[in-house]
């Protein structure tokens, strides 16, 4: 039972992370499309936020293991 619950939890984490990454990506692309000259800055900020989100998701995965 514990193993199955762990797997369900991992799936939930991935769903949450996926939603978050999708939001970041879509907003960044909108921003770049509106203001192509700011693409560099937007991209850097996007990667940082993505990394923070990833850290959160990985932390949860490791703790849940």
């Amino acid at each position: 039972m514990g193993g199955t619950l762990n797997l369900i939890g991992a799936g939930l984490i991935v769903i949450g992370g996926g939603i978050g990454l999708g939001q970041i990506g879509s907003k960044a692309m909108e921003g770049i499309a509106r203001q192509p000259e700011a693409a560099g800055k937007i991209q850097t900020a996007m990667i940082i936020i993505g990394a923070l989100l990833e850290g959160l998701a990985f932390g949860a995965l490791i703790l849940g293991k």
Binding site: Q43, I47, F58
Partner: protein, 411 residues
């Protein structure tokens, strides 16, 4: 030669306005390596000799004569469980490089590494070939008056009087204890190799600058744009124009250390150094020590006694901020790198193993083709991830350092 120079300098100036900095740096690396190989024959010759020497040094295989008694099962890997075990074994650190095994004769091929252990009878050193690639405590090595054995990549010293290892239900040795292990393991070897490569590359670059050359030659051409990238796009905007210089040494070292080790992990030698949690934890601890000790007055004031907030809330905020800076930020740094590299290795090896697991469903040709295509695809992505993780670690380190050294204007 001159043409090369002009192309490179144009690239570096063009980079400033280039929006996709990451891609640009990649393009630059490709460009500079291409020009190295095609136009600069001298350097191409040199690098070919270097590669030849490296290959020669690495190819000096040493076979570990297997112990017949324990290989009657054979080392073939057929079932998903065995594959999982094999991958788990690969992700861990090891005392030798294991390349392949010959099942018929029970021999293992690879090269041994020195084992340096501090036992109850003092320091003992020997080559790991003495263990014959045994990892289950079957082979007992006698060195003077101590008996040593290896179980799950950990070296144990047998208690006095014992000749074989006994295990309890959880497969922990009952009549042996761990020793202090200072061995040059695979990971240590990888770190030393990365250090050596950095030393060679950057001293060559520095020597070129010392001679007054404006543009580096050789491998320095790959390194210079990356150094400038770390300085102009990572350190300067995050730490600030006034203070970034002090931290460049650390940021550059961490960036190239992680990048080289990540790339080494993609070679068939099977390094998984940045996938060892101890290594990433040490790197994160370096960052923490640096930003805690270089924190400005404003940083500590804002962390411990936040101005502009009701006094009741200030202690609560101080606790949250302190936990954030001392525990959560380094934890996320170390877990990100560790989990990314471990997951990457796991995915690549699982896809390679597809040729075994899907053999019955798709036939040998179909499953091998599938695993080849998918593994190639993921490996290419892993090259990008290798760079991206080095970039993100450096970026977040400089972000945290920037938070700590920032001085606020008081209005």
């Amino acid at each position: 030669m001159n043409k090369n120079y002009s192309i490179l300098t144009k690239k570096t100036t063009a980079k400033k306005v280039c929006s996709f900095d990451l891609l640009c740096t990649f393009a630059q690396i490709l460009e500079s390596t291409n020009s190295l190989l095609s136009k600069d024959i001298m350097i191409a010759k040199k690098s070919i000799t270097f590669i030849a020497v490296l290959v020669l040094a690495l190819v000096s295989f040493k076979s570990f004569a297997g112990d017949e008694g324990h290989h009657d099962k054979g080392n073939t890997i057929d079932t998903p469980k065995e594959i999982k075990e094999y991958i788990g074994h690969h992700l861990k650190d090891a005392h030798d490089f294991h390349l392949f095994s010959d099942n018929a004769s029970g021999k293992h091929y690879g090269f041994p590494l020195p084992v340096i252990v501090w036992t109850s009878k003092g320091l003992k050193t020997f080559m790991s070939s003495a263990f014959h690639h045994d990892d289950a405590g079957h082979i007992v090595v006698e060195k003077g008056d101590v008996k040593l054995t290896k179980v799950h990549s950990k070296i144990y010293e047998l208690d006095a009087g014992a000749t074989t290892v006994n295990f309890d239900a959880h497969h922990h040795p009952t009549n042996a204890h761990k020793v202090l292990d200072f061995s040059i393991t695979k990971s240590v070897f990888g770190m030393l190799l990365a250090g050596l490569l950095m030393l060679l590359g950057f001293t060559a670059l520095a020597r070129g600058y010392k001679k007054g050359k404006k543009i580096p030659t050789g491998f320095g051409r790959v390194l210079e744009p990356l150094v400038i990238y770390v300085r102009d796009d990572i350190a300067r905007p995050n730490i600030g124009e006034k203070k970034y210089r002090k931290f460049m040494g650390f940021l550059l070292t961490v960036f190239f250390f992680i990048w080289i080790l990540n790339l080494l992990g993609l070679t068939p030698l099977g390094f998984n150094v940045t996938g060892q949690i101890a290594v990433t934890a040490c790197l994160a601890i370096f960052t923490v020590i640096i930003y805690l000790f270089s924190g400005s007055k404003d940083f500590w004031a804002h962390t411990l006694w936040m101005p502009g907030v009701p006094v009741v809330l200030r202690p609560i905020l101080a606790v949250i901020e302190l936990i954030g800076f001392v525990l959560i930020k380094p934890f996320s740094l170390l877990v990100r790198l560790f989990a990314n590299m471990t997951a990457g290795h796991f995915v690549v090896m699982s896809l390679i193993a597809l040729m075994i697991t899907l053999k019955e469903a798709f036939g040998p040709v179909g499953s091998t083709g599938m695993s080849l295509v998918l593994a190639l695809f993921i490996s290419v992505i892993e090259i990008l991830v290798a760079f991206l993780q080095a970039f993100i670690f450096t970026m977040l380190s400089s972000l945290f350092i920037g938070m700590a050294v920032e001085e606020h204007d008081h209005h």
